[in-house]
Every structure is written in C-alpha cells, then in structure tokens.
Amino acid sequence: MIRKTRPHITQNEPLLFEISSPGKKGYQLPELDVPPIDAKKALGSQNVRDEIENFPEVSEVEVIRHFTRLSTWNYAIDLGLYPLGSCTMKYNPRINEVVARTEGLAWAHPYQPEALSQGAMEILATLEDLLAEITGMDAVTLQPAAGAHGEMTGIFLMRALLQSQGNPRKKLLIPDSAHGTNPATATMAGYAVQNIKSNERGLVDLHELEKFVDEDVAGLMITNPNTIGVFEENITKITDLMHSKGALVYMDGANMNALVGMARPGDFGIDVMHLNLHKTFSTPHGGGGPGAGPIAVKKALEPFLPTPRLRRSKDDQWTWDYNRPQSVGRVRAFYGNFGVLVRALAYTLAHGGDGLRRATLDAVLNANYIRKQLEPYFDLPYTAPSMHECVFSDTRQVKKGVRTGDIAKRLIDYGFHPYTVSFPLIVPGALMIEPTETESKSELDLFCDALISIAKEIEEDPQMVLKAPHLTRTSRVDETAAARKPVVRWKPGQSSSS
C-alpha cells in the first residue's frame, strides 16, 4: 500500500521555443553610457551575424514560470530519500549555498592580484589540510573538477613517478567490480586495463591479483569500501603486494562516506586517491554537477602535482607557485571548482572532527538497517558485512519476469527515487542501495515497507510492476527509440505535445 504519495495536478509546459514570440523581452540593459559602435564597421561585416536564428524571445514572468513548472517534474533530496548506491545523495546544507555566494568570493577573478586574493587562497589551503588529515595522506590538489577528472590526474601522477624511476609500465589492474570511470581513465592515461575477477565474497582475490602483478603493472585501481559496500579485508596485504612489485595503489574514494573519521586510506597503504566532494562532502549534485575531485597523495607523488601549488611566502602571504619542474601540468584552467570547494569546507566546519565521525556511523547504521529489513525479501549475493551501502540481486524476482529496472520504476510510485540499477556488474540484476546518514528512521521504514510491498506485488501481480510507474505525469520513457534516431535539439516546426 502506497503511504508516501498522492497524485496532484502539475502544470504542463511547452519548450521555451514554443512560447517565444518576436518582440517579447525578459531583459533590460542599462542605458549605454558611451557612444554606440557600428559592429560591421568595427569588425567587418563578414564577422557580424544578422541574427540568432530561432532563438527564443520570452518575458521575465514566462521564464520564471517555465523553470518553476519544469522543476515540479523532478524528484530531489529536498523531497525525500535518494538511495542511489555509490552516489551518496545526502542532504545539501543550504548554508553552503549562502557562503558560496559571499560577494568577495563569488566575484573573485582568478587573475586578480594575490594580495587581493588571500581570503580565497586561505580557504583552499585550509581545505587541503583538512582533506589530508581526513585521508591520512601527505598532500592534496584541489584542481580536478570531478571524480573521473581526479582519477585521470591521479593516474598521471603515478605514471610520472614511475617514469621518473625509469619505466612508466604498461598496465593497470582493475577489479571487475570497479566503476566505469576507472577503466576509461586508464585509457586516457595510456594504460592497458587488466580486469581482476572478484572472489566469491565480492572482494579482490589475493591469489588472482598475484597472478597479474608483474613489472608491466603500473598499479592497481581499487575502490574501498568496494562497490558492493564491503571493506577490503585484505587491503594492507593488497597494498603490500603491489608495493613489493614496485607498483602503486590508486584508491577510488567515492565511498569515503563509509570511512571518514574511522579509517584513513593513508594508513592502509594507499598511494594516491580521489575524493568526490559532491558525494562525501555534501555539495549539491544539481542534476549532474558540478563536482570536485581533489587528489590526495603520499609524499613521493607530491612533486608531480598539477601547477600551480599554494605556497606560504616569507612575508606570510599565500602565493601561487608555478615553478614545479616535475609537475604533470595543469588538468584544467585556474585552480579548481572553487565554489564547490567553499561548500565542502563549510560542510567540514559545520561537522567538526567528531561530527564527521558521527555522520559516518549513522551512514553505516542506516545501510545495515535497510539490509536487515530487506534480506528476507531479496537475494543478497554477497553476505560480507556491509558498510555504507548494501547490494541485492533481482534473481528471485526475475523468476516472475520482473527485473531490478522494473522494481526501480515501481518504487517511483511509492514516492522514492530508485536505488542504483544494475551496478556493480558482478551482481546479477543489482539493487544498489545507499541511504546516507541524513535519512530519518521513519523515511527508512517507509522505504523498506515500499520495497517489501513491491516484492509482494511481484508475487501477486507482476504486471503492476512491469508497467510502472503509474502515478507520474510521464509514464515509462522509451529510451530505445531515443537512441535509434537521436533528436537532440529543437528545430522549428517540431512536435509540441508537451
């Protein structure tokens, strides 16, 4: 029985292009206080366009209604539990949005004099220190724009270190449970990928690993806790093994929400890792970004970090150090997604050391609470202790013809965003559930009730689930048709059935 939602009218809304009419205005510029310039004269007529064809013309009130109406078609953390495994969709504190808009910060130009940028640089330096303490690493760069960007940076660093030792090597070992960005990153760094099969417990298999580590192996990309939410019990043996072969260990830190304050990668042999500040540190996903993917490294890798680096000058001012001969170079312009970094710092200041630890405890408690309630109804292929997330399989439901993707759609009718579907690949038909620490017991109970109720529906009336969602303004979307003949932009005279 659906306890969490009731259907209600929502407004339809055409595309902006479809409400446009020539001459409508949503803007006004200040009176030009200098003489106007004839663009064609100044730039040459071939360089000046006649118009922006078909570009929309709407008024201010239409703009706000357009986006307000569209927003009501979205689900969001502000509306409820968002249990996407691996994505750590936790509460995004609003204070972080406020401080990120502090005038002196939001309007700071990256090239303004260092003497007039000390406050911004101080923020970056402070965050670097906090992240080093949290990860147990020696140095941090805040330049990468997201996790995958960090991965690339981190692998570049490994390569640079090995290079400096004479041989960059050829391969990266990546467990078959890894996130897709890991192998994709390896390629961008010019490494071949060697997949490592997980063992029957879903963990990295030491013997399997030994088989593959040789002088061609640059390193291992490991996720810990791994993507089934389990801590790699042999992590120190693993890192020792890699090191013994002169290889390095990269840790995908997407799951740090399970460790902050309880364990530090720097303490269990990790050489380099990234953090997803838009996961563990609560910066908003905003429908897909922006993020920030700082990289934390051990001393040996520090000389290779991207330029510029923050340095304290003798007169105790912050300054940007561009003179880093061994650096791998920049991975993006300027210094990183500063506005995101400000939010992450605000999050850390709000929690403090103890608060961060308590957040981790609640995150793991929530995941285990869900696991416990759902175990009787769904297959749990890997029974090792869960940390911040738990991963079920749809094997039992498949017998009725219902797959994880169908269960996900039905969950929508119950008022929840689905879990992560069909990832990791080592779990057949995965239901990957990560509640995070910012969920109340009652929200978790409603969620478990919903999945249990769906499990029963599957026994009694699988069609109900297979045809879901039933209560949304948009019913199941045909993704195959979209890919077959891609329509990726509006064109005049295009259908307008909003």
Partner: protein, 449 residues
C-alpha cells in the same frame, strides 16, 4: 549534529533491530591496522552564524569593493536575478543526473533546451550537456577529432588561451597525440595562416583556434577551416567569451566548437565552477564525449526526454568510452540556460553590442599592440606593473600583464571592458594609462584606433 536526523532513542531502536550494542560494532571487522585509533585532528563543529562569519571574513580579504578590467577567459557580466532564483529550487539543486527519466523530466527538458540554444548560437548541429569547463573541452575536442580522422597530430594556435593550451598538453601527453603550436601575425594579433600552412600535413587530426582569441581578436574562421579541410583535418574553434556569440558570425565552418560559458551568468568564483561545452556536426555525434539528452515518448505518447547514446559513455563502454567524464556541470549549464532565456534573441545581441562599445570606447586613443578587429578585450602597450599599481590607488584592478604567457609581449597587458564597466571607470583607466610612461619608445605597432 543538526544534519543528522536521529535521536538517541531512534539509534537505539535501530541497533536493537540489528541486535547490536553500538554502531561501532559495525566497524569491528575492519582490520586492526586499518583503523583510526584517535579522533580526527579537526576543531569541533561550528554554528551557522560562525560559518557565515568565517566566509564573510575571507571574502573581505579579497577585492570585493574593486572595479576590474580583467578578462582573459573570465568575464564580469551581470547575473540576472532569475538565475539564482531558478537554480536555488531544491528540485534542480538537489537532484542527481537524470537517469530515471520519469522523475527527472524537469532537468532533462532544460538540458534539451540548453543543447538546442547552443546549436543556434554556434551554428553546429548537435551539442552535449556540458563539460567541466572550456579548458578541458578543448582536449576532449582534440581527442574527438583523433577518433574521427584516425590521425593523431594536433595543431593549436598560440592565440588560444595559454592555460587551455597547457591543459591540452597535459591531456595529450599519454595518448600519442603530439601537439604543436602555430603563431600569430605580429602587428595584427590574428592567427598566422602561413605558419599554419607550413606546419599542417596529412597526419594532422585537428587544427585548434580560438575566436575571439586570447587577445580579444576576431579570427578568420573561414580561412582556417578551408586550410584545415584542404589537408583533411578538422577545425576546432574554441571560445572563452560566450557573449561574443550574440554578435559574431557563428563558427559554422568549424567541425567542432569547444567553449566556455562562464560569461552566461556564471560568477567568476575564483576560477570555477564554470561550464564547458562541445558542439559538432550531426555526423560526429557518436564521437561526442559527455552526456546528451534526446527527445522520445512515454508509453502514453507524451513527449518525453531522456539521456541517450549512452553507448559512448564510460558506464557502458568502460575502457573504450569516448571519455571518462561522468559528473559534469549540469547546474552551471542550467544557469547559462536561464541566462539565455532571460536575454533571448534581442538581448544577447544588445549585450554584445554594449560590450563592443565599452571596449572600443576604452581603447580609443590608447596605444594598442595589435591592429586586427577586437570584441571586448584588447592588448595595451604600457608599463603593466606601473599602470596596475596606479589603478589600484583608485580601487581599480587593471589588466593582465602578458609577459607571463608571452615573453615577446613583456610591455603589454590584456584589458577587458563589459556592460558592467561604467564610463567613469573607463575614463579613470584612460587617465591612468596616459599618465604611465611608455616602455622604451619604440614606434607604436598596430597603432591606436
């Protein structure tokens, strides 16, 4: 902790369900040596009020109350209030990547509009849903060209933003993608087609230029395209000043357009987050990196949108993906979308015209390094340090000294004016510029307008 929605009683109840005494028990399986035995060395949690005050204090240690003539890839443009009104809605701010289309039509529709408007602005057929920023969009475009042409060499104009070129180098180094520069015409400041011609060959996958270029100069895209195409290379046109697209001819001769949208209501924010974009021809859509939203229908025949062509992406193709990008800059792209909606067809043009007028008013009578036509930035011959010092006395941040990036331009600074530059400040700048003595009196090149 105020972000943790649990009472001790509730934690107790949950532990009872699990048959545990304490939450710490859930960590007992962690190997001894991997556990942190001490509290984190981080101060206790702060109140909202203290956090606001901390950042306000940091903000006051910057240039809050200054006027600025800096551009160089980051521009001061007015941010219409509706932009923050829209992106502050929890439904946009706190939602994830729209994989579950049935409850993400809001985000999906705005991305579809974003892609469409970007195509209209650039003259391309298709655009993706955003890249990290302009600087990372450029190497991604180059890699795309490599995939399309099955060649691997890349030629990049020295007039492309120096930091973009650095990023290109970082990306390219391990991909067997050699990158060579080609120069600009001395007195003009526009790309040197002869130099390009001399360097281009049938191993070249992409020729990369920027327009307006780093010096603010409008490049001859058509000529560059012809040259590139003659040798079977693709032309990649980068842009850093999106406002110019309201007035300049779209780079439709390009094969790939890779740009930065910071100018569209994205605050400078000390360098990020911004939003990059890649647009291209229909034919190359399957080589695009990043997310793409497409139109389709739901089971009731209603128009619907969803992420599409996922087979290009890392979560499906893994090591064979077009890029490793996953999280992009969606919310920032939404800011740009709202900005474009507010200004619209007429507004973007009027905005560009005001930028043109302000910059040209400022340049009037000053000693310019280059003679080619410029949009809202230009290179000024002066004593950069002296002029900037003088301007700071008036709480004005001057231009960017170019020696740092172009040794040959030691005595030059890059100066930008936008619709936010008030005449009084423009006049103040001119006064200071005239008061500062020129470097060793060489006959002014290019000459003043």
């Amino acid at each position: 902790m105020r972000y943790l929605p649990k009472s001790e009683t509730e934690r107790r109840e949950m532990l009872d369900t699990l048959g545990l005494d304490s939450i710490e028990d859930l960590f007992s399986h962690l190997p001894e040596e991997a556990r942190l035995k001490r509290p984190l060395n981080i101060a206790p949690g702060k109140s909202e009020y203290e956090i606001v005050e901390y950042f306000r204090a940091r903000g006051e240690e910057t240039a809050a109350s200054y006027t600025s003539f800096l551009g160089a890839g980051v521009y001061n443009h007015y941010r219409p209030v509706l932009v923050d009104t829209v992106v502050s809605r929890g439904e946009f701010l706190t939602s994830y990547t729209p994989y579950q289309a049935e409850i993400a039509q809001g985000t999906l529709t705005t991305i579809f509009e974003f892609q469409s408007m970007l195509c209209q602005l650039t003259g391309m057929d298709v655009a993706n849903a955003s890249m990290y920023d302009g600087s990372s969009a450029v190497p991604e475009a180059a890699m795309m060209a490599v995939r399309v042409t099955h060649r691997n060499r890349v030629l990049v104009a020295k007039t492309v933003h120096p930091e973009y070129r650095e990023v290109l180098r970082t990306y390219s180094q391990h991909q067997g993608m050699p990158v060579d520069d080609f120069g600009y015409v001395d007195g003009a400041g526009s790309l040197d087609l002869a130099d390009l011609e001399s360097k281009i060959g049938n191993d070249v996958a992409a020729v990369i230029i920027q327009s307006p270029n780093f010096f603010g100069i409008v490049e001859d895209v058509k000529a560059a395209a012809e040259l590139a195409h003659k040798h079977g290379a693709l032309l990649v046109v980068a842009f850093t000043e999106a406002v110019s697209l309201g007035l300049l001819s779209p780079p439709k001769e390009a094969d790939i357009v890779a740009g930065e949208l910071q100018s569209f209501a994205i605050s400078p924010s000390y360098g990020g987050p911004y939003a990059g974009i890649i647009a291209t021809k229909e034919a190359y859509i399957r080589q695009l990196p990043g997310r793409i939203v497409g139109e389709t229908k739901d089971t009731h025949g209603n128009r619907a949108f969803c992420l599409t062509l996922a087979t290009r992406e890392q979560h499906i193709r893994r090591e064979k993906a077009t890029s490793n990008i996953c999280t992009n800059q969606a919310l920032i792209a939404l800011m740009a979308t709202v900005f474009m909606s507010v200004y619209g067809k007429e507004g973007l043009r009027e905005l560009a015209e005001q930028n043109l007028a302000k910059a040209h008013y400022l340049a009037e009578g000053l000693d310019l390094q280059f003679s080619a036509p410029f949009f809202n930035e230009f290179v000024l011959r002066t004593e950069p340090e002296a002029l900037n010092a003088e301007l700071l006395k008036h709480k004005i941040i001057g231009g960017l000294p170019l020696g740092r990036f172009y040794p040959e331009l030691e005595g030059c600074m890059l100066v930008c004016a936008t619709e936010m530059s008030k005449r009084a400040h423009l006049d103040q700048f001119k006064k200071c510029a005239e008061s500062v003595v020129q470097p060793a009196l060489v006959a002014p090149r290019g000459g003043s307008l």
